[in-house]
Amino acid sequence: MADFPAALRYTIEHEWVDTSTPAVVGVTSVAADALGDVVYLELPEVGSTIEAGTVIGEIESTKSVSELFSPVSGTVVEVNQAAVDDPALVNADPFGAGWLFKVDVSGEGALLSAEEYAAHTGS
């Protein structure tokens, strides 16, 4: 559980963002496990401007729903259509094939290192 990729940075709401350009955003294994089987993703539209720390989408499971917060500010340049079509990817591979969208980053919110995130989640 405590094995969060060190190359990523995290939010306390359980999103991750990488350092590539554009940056890739997803949710962590903690979020995926807490939700249960994800059945529906609502992601920001390509071309939309998003602001770090605000609600930009929803992740829905059979049991519950969670809001998606953006870890960064910028412009959305791509969404993961494969994950929209098959949301189980978020459970199966949250740090890989289950990524959510890509952003041209203009600013960052409050981000945690893998170590800080592990401490935050108590894992």
Binding site: G36, V39, E42, E60, K63, S64, S66
Partner: protein, 388 residues
């Protein structure tokens, strides 16, 4: 983010160690620490629809009434006619307050001429036991709350009959295979492991009841035998697709089957009539019963709201507590339960709405976190199992 935070004072069932060994995610429910899911909500849900699921329901309350006046005591205490239940049969019923509101919904099993088992929801079990004790005063009946001493395990799904029949021998095989829906019988289960020696046996009350919309059985066993029964059923069913299933699957299964959950569709502000369950109230039975005057009045006055099924036309499911909006966008009711239906592939919900908007085909919407999502009133249940 979710409601999975375990409360430390929650009670543990006799199967708690089995759940943790199976890697279950636990949740507080009705004062108990229960498995929410073992691996996957959806896989557990589908296993019950297509093969079988194994549930720990030991959190539920088991209250026995015995004596020459047991039937009369229950006729007085509940809205149904317990005295009309044949030995070996069961009936869905409710216990109401004097004002006609629902204290709990129950299953009443008649296990002998002068013996009844009342099964109550976990969160209401203490209240139901104390109410039955109070309401049985003056009747020749002894009330005994056996909730702590009793474990309850359910096997639900099309494979359930074969799995349970495989644990019994002789005449008990016919008793299980020939058992009708809402019937029960005492049987001897052959079990292995879990503190019971190989070749051990457990006396169980087996009932063909459930809360999933599938065929299935509920097995009442002594708490000390729970682990052996659980492990034996898991081993017996794994080859035909049985998996342990948690409360998340149980909730989505019962919602598809249109079954009410106390605290959602039923509560202290609701009478059986509003919930569409007026058939359980037997105003015609002999004698007075608690809540009769209020319920008789309610039956002939139009209800302010009625329970309906809603099919979501979009993808975002309504959840409990969300407002239902009428054609002009004004609130006309509220959602009591809602989820994306795993079997049907679209969102379903139950909701209370004003009677004039309750007809099948009525187009409404639900405010889902700030956005109106279109829904249409559909008949309950959403899902009915294929009949063979």
């Amino acid at each position: 983010m979710t409601d999975t935070n375990a409360v430390t004072e929650d009670k543990k069932t006799p199967l708690y160690d089995e759940h943790t060994a199976l890697g279950a995610v636990l949740t507080g429910f009705g004062g108990w620490l229960m498995p929410l899911r073992y691996t996957s909500d959806l896989a557990e849900h589908r296993a019950v629809r297509e093969a079988a699921g194994l549930f720990d329901l030991s959190h539920m309350g088991e209250i026995w009434l015995r004596g020459a006046g047991a039937a009369a005591a229950l006729d007085h205490a509940l809205v149904g006619a317990a005295s009309a239940i044949a030995v070996g049969r069961a009936k869905y019923s409710m216990i109401c307050a004097e004002d006609g509101s629902v204290l709990d919904d129950l299953i009443v099993y008649r296990t002998a001429d002068e013996e009844f088992l009342v099964v109550a929801n976990a969160g209401n079990a203490v209240l139901v036991a104390s109410e039955l004790l109070a309401r049985a005063a003056g009747f020749d009946a002894v009330v005994e709350d056996r909730s702590e001493a009793t474990a309850l395990v359910a096997v639900q799904g099309p494979q359930a009959e074969d799995i349970v029949a495989g644990l019994v021998a002789g005449a008990d095989v016919d008793a299980v295979r020939g058992m009708r829906y809402y019937a029960s019988a005492p049987v001897t289960l052959a079990v292995t492991g879990g503190g019971v020696a190989d070749g051990g046996s457990v006396e169980a009350l087996v009932a063909r009841t459930g809360y999933t919309g599938e065929d299935g059985f509920e097995l009442f066993v002594p708490a000390e035998s729970a682990v052996a029964v659980w492990r034996t059923l898991l081993a017996a069913g794994t080859g035909v697709g049985l998996v342990p299933a948690g409360l998340s699957a149980r909730d989505s299964l019962r919602l598809e089957a249109g079954m009410p959950l106390y605290g959602h569709e039923l509560d202290r502000t609701t009478t059986p009539y509003e919930a569409g369950l007026g058939r359980v109230v037997r105003l015609d039975k002999a004698g007075d019963f608690v809540g009769k005057a209020a319920l008789a009045a309610r039956k002939v006055s139009p209800p302010a709201r009625v329970l309906v099924g809603l099919r979501g036309l979009g993808r975002r499911p309504a959840r409990a507590g969300y407002p239902v909006l009428g054609p002009s966008g004004v609130a006309v009711g509220g959602v009591t339960s809602g989820a994306p239906s795993p079997t049907l592939g679209y969102p379903v919900a139950m909701a209370y709405v004003t009677p004039e908007l309750s007809a099948e085909g009525t187009e409404l919407s639900v405010e889902v976190r700030g956005r109106a999502e279109p829904v249409v009133v559909v008949p309950l249940p959403f899902y009915r199992r294929p009949q063979n």
